[in-house]
Symmetry: D2
Subunit: 358 residues, 4 copies
Amino acid sequence: MLKAALIGATGAVGQEFAVALNRHPWFELAQIASSQRSAGKKYIDALRDKDSGVLKWHNKEQVPDYIRDMIVSRVEDVDSGEFDLIFTALESDDARTIEPTFARSVPVISTAAAFRYEKDVPILIPGINDNHVELLNIQRKTRGWKGFIAPLPNCTTTGLTITLKPIMKDYGIEDIFMTSMQALSGAGRSPGVIALDIMDNVIPYIPKEEEKVQVETKKILGNLDSESIIPAPIKVSCTCTRVPVLDGHTEVVFVGTKKPVEPEQVKDAMMRFSRDISVQKLPSSPKDYIIVHDDPSRPQPRVDREINEGMTTVVGRLRKDTVFENGIKYVLLSHNERMGSARGAVLLAELLHDKGMI
Amino acid sequence: MLKAALIGATGAVGQEFAVALNRHPWFELAQIASSQRSAGKKYIDALRDKDSGVLKWHNKEQVPDYIRDMIVSRVEDVDSGEFDLIFTALESDDARTIEPTFARSVPVISTAAAFRYEKDVPILIPGINDNHVELLNIQRKTRGWKGFIAPLPNCTTTGLTITLKPIMKDYGIEDIFMTSMQALSGAGRSPGVIALDIMDNVIPYIPKEEEKVQVETKKILGNLDSESIIPAPIKVSCTCTRVPVLDGHTEVVFVGTKKPVEPEQVKDAMMRFSRDISVQKLPSSPKDYIIVHDDPSRPQPRVDREINEGMTTVVGRLRKDTVFENGIKYVLLSHNERMGSARGAVLLAELLHDKGMI
Amino acid sequence: MLKAALIGATGAVGQEFAVALNRHPWFELAQIASSQRSAGKKYIDALRDKDSGVLKWHNKEQVPDYIRDMIVSRVEDVDSGEFDLIFTALESDDARTIEPTFARSVPVISTAAAFRYEKDVPILIPGINDNHVELLNIQRKTRGWKGFIAPLPNCTTTGLTITLKPIMKDYGIEDIFMTSMQALSGAGRSPGVIALDIMDNVIPYIPKEEEKVQVETKKILGNLDSESIIPAPIKVSCTCTRVPVLDGHTEVVFVGTKKPVEPEQVKDAMMRFSRDISVQKLPSSPKDYIIVHDDPSRPQPRVDREINEGMTTVVGRLRKDTVFENGIKYVLLSHNERMGSARGAVLLAELLHDKGMI
Amino acid sequence: MLKAALIGATGAVGQEFAVALNRHPWFELAQIASSQRSAGKKYIDALRDKDSGVLKWHNKEQVPDYIRDMIVSRVEDVDSGEFDLIFTALESDDARTIEPTFARSVPVISTAAAFRYEKDVPILIPGINDNHVELLNIQRKTRGWKGFIAPLPNCTTTGLTITLKPIMKDYGIEDIFMTSMQALSGAGRSPGVIALDIMDNVIPYIPKEEEKVQVETKKILGNLDSESIIPAPIKVSCTCTRVPVLDGHTEVVFVGTKKPVEPEQVKDAMMRFSRDISVQKLPSSPKDYIIVHDDPSRPQPRVDREINEGMTTVVGRLRKDTVFENGIKYVLLSHNERMGSARGAVLLAELLHDKGMI
């Protein structure tokens, strides 16, 4: 078993890690750390509101037994020398200062945006751009680190890129228009979106989200050069909105392809890609990497998000586009709190271990 | 005062008409008709569920006094000879058979899709394609009718076309990608969308909606030839979805223009267009035809839909597009039950009266 | 294995049965029947909307494999001679005519209200009034049937009665005030509650519900006489409301007891009762029959409804009442679609089998 | 015109005051104050989020013109000598320290709980306990103040007490059980209830709310003695819950009366009381103080909350109770942000002015 620590264990993403690492066959969560306020308490007590006794736990599963009584450390008391890898669930500002201190000696798998856009940092999605893993070695060399920082993409990028990959492979991609209808859990809980703002409403703006998705998609689908990634020569335009949905980002995608393409061909390409996905043997990899529905009413976030524990990207409404000379349009659903967050990070750690990087 | 009858008075759209025609300065609602089940009852009683006593009234305003005690007629008992115009609020199948029987002798303003796509039938939005009114005279001649059928567009087309018009005028339009997030009231109440299907959910499919919007947008923005409308040479691609919002359709639009264009220019074009709108003197015309927000969090359906009694199209998030060589993107909100339905129909009747057609 | 048939298999409750009977250790679902419209089709096809291709399946789990391809029979083609028991998931009017035709020869477990209030019909909740099972023998004799009809209570009665039983046992009960906040799934899907009526709203009225709960509670907690049940000498007053919650009925209860009682004592009584519940060995019986939370923010329907597959009644906010001389108040949550419906019916069938009645 | 200042002008309740005092015939809002962060800014700018440009304005009406450009003062820069009255919209802790500094010289109308339970402080609802106004003179004397503090009740108490008053007057009241289903706006916006906690959910606990309602109801319905209020000899038991409703508290009430009473009599008593209400001539008093529905599906918060600008208490489902020997039960709706908050405070100021106290 590899020993792992989790930084930011009590927040919403940290809680997802706690569940995702429960009975993990390879990784043993041996230490958890959080802010000063929680340090020294049992995990279960750190989750509890002092005044009201209300448990601030947000997962559908109960708090796993293995972690209930673990004592929460201060971040500075985590000795990276004791661990094989570190998972971080931090806000971007904290990540910027904390993650390098660990990466000097040990691999860091991060859900934060802090380092995603640096030249020597790949944004990895297992099965999509595995060859970018090599950039981590360049990162190590450049920075003189024994470890590295391997960030996940933004949760809205994840499903988009997963569904674009098989299209790009077989038909080439030139242009992408994407409109997202994002779930509330993507905004976190500190305080996240307040009910008075979103009930019976749509908020057509998520600060910085569109830029992230536009840049990250091109980087993930790009080519690894000798020492950095050349973004894919694709144009991407996004509008990101928030809707009154608890979990699961829905994305409406219009894709202009290089070659002529029919919806049935895209369905076939996605299903083949899903079947042959490189990471199928990894413990957290879902039975279906992509599912394509013929039922025109799908995917729906409430109905489809929990399939395969939220690790599957669900596609539907594949139709020929009516603007692009060559193009198709579709709707996808990706679980922002699972494949797009902690569970996706665990899958990435599995890939990196499989490739000998951890 | 012109005498009007309302066919389909008890349904959700009929109720909107009842409110929209309350104290109207030009039109007096003199007869109301509905299905057999309601015929012979007072309007207020026809709205009440027999078994439970529950009033099936869906408007925020109370049932107007003028209509409470009006007796609901059978449709076949409406004598078109007595009226200057007929408003219809019918399902498409009923509209197909009923509307022509009236149109033979009197102008019919319709909210149904039944005749929208016929060659001699314009789809009119006051202030947007007023010159298409002339096609009604051709319709009269072709069909040998004294009256005509003048249908509104689909409620999702309305806001899209209104916002495209000033862009087309000043910069030309080539391509449009639109994703809608449509309100529940657009699906009606018989039974409409059931709560178990839409709470905490998005349904990415509204049967036939996308085709309607794609065809209607080009027809409305097209040119009137000698005897029909030549659709605008624009390519349009839509994905229409249903979200848990009571009223107000939100639409995310990406527009490829002929000429280079900046967001500030589009804002300026929309505001000029709104200020100079042809219909500004009509009783139901809103103070602002279009409002453009700088606040990036707007428009929001719950916040913006009721402005100017739901007759204003509200725009926000004007940004340069990142795919089109020349292009902009934005978000719009249009009240599907007001400008997109009965009140819009009343505004259209006002325009037709103003032009001497009624 | 006992052979079972399911009448009303395609509706929302029928779908719950399909899931509840999946891999059941004692009962094999051998035939399914539904209305004319579905007869002759495969189950999966009968669930699909002809026009749109949309699957009308409402459970979080997928359609179980065992039932996907079963052919749906007409009700009149179900030969009761071939079955050991019949589950029915019918509207009350249909139940009244259909259930007796089966009950002549075979036990019928019913979720309908049709026979609940007849003198020789017990309303059974496993573990709560097991001794009322004896009334089924009287029913057999009275009616000259080989089988019987054993109905579940109304789904709102279930959780109330389960939580009252341990209080009554130890402290006696005189008066009950109960206000329910009921979930949408309790209203079914034909059409059930439409979203326009319940979003951002509470509907303070559910026809007939209050009377049902008031009568059923007293019957279930009553004593079996020689040939009928003497209602418990308790006064009950209810107000039943509908709230925008998908599943899980929340009930606010104020109980006047005969003896003085403290909240801790009620907690203790409920936990003892739950631990010693008579039905604990039955396959569908939950690990915890009742859970009592100290956290004052619980129970919450979204958080607590799925625990133990929806078979647990969850209690919280136990406090001393401030009106009753002796009394306590609390909040309970019961899953109306699980313990209050099909799964509860399967548990009842297990009890009846265990007692040699099936 | 009387000159008024508003303390806490930028918060949610402060915004309600800004709207309620727009074009007020008696009171001119001459100064507004808020926290340090807003001081020195125009009101409209103080409402705007610095980073995103998003306007934090929560009322359906636009920001009134009269207040847009008013400069927000620091609280300590408000000179009470310049004003005839002060409205405060403060958190309880701030109210405790700030309100007395003003009350020394000028009447203070408060929405905070800070002083409600003090012996020389009445909790006033215009039309319900006008004779308690006299206690303000005792307060002045006791404390040596020229002004006084006159607090509103908790927003959940308001509707309850208004509906109980006519029952108490005619039939006497002994016992009250009340279950509330409270709106999100009652929890404010800092941060208030986050959407992830309340969508598809009920939270059965609002800290301190039940105690407030129980104590306040008895105080408001009590008798003014020589120098304090003797609480009404009524027993009250409440359970307060939060539901996914934007505005409007729904309360389910069971009342045990001294004399026998029929629902029709209570309806009659409420309507007479409403018609004869003492405050009917005051500018903010609604046309109907109480409305009683026969339609059993009413009141509903979304449908009924805005009637008469949210100043009417709406009652329905009047039925004979089945537990109390003499008793009735009903459901009420009261707009927590209007009659229960700023508008109610303005109405109270009008009453106090009318009685010569301001």
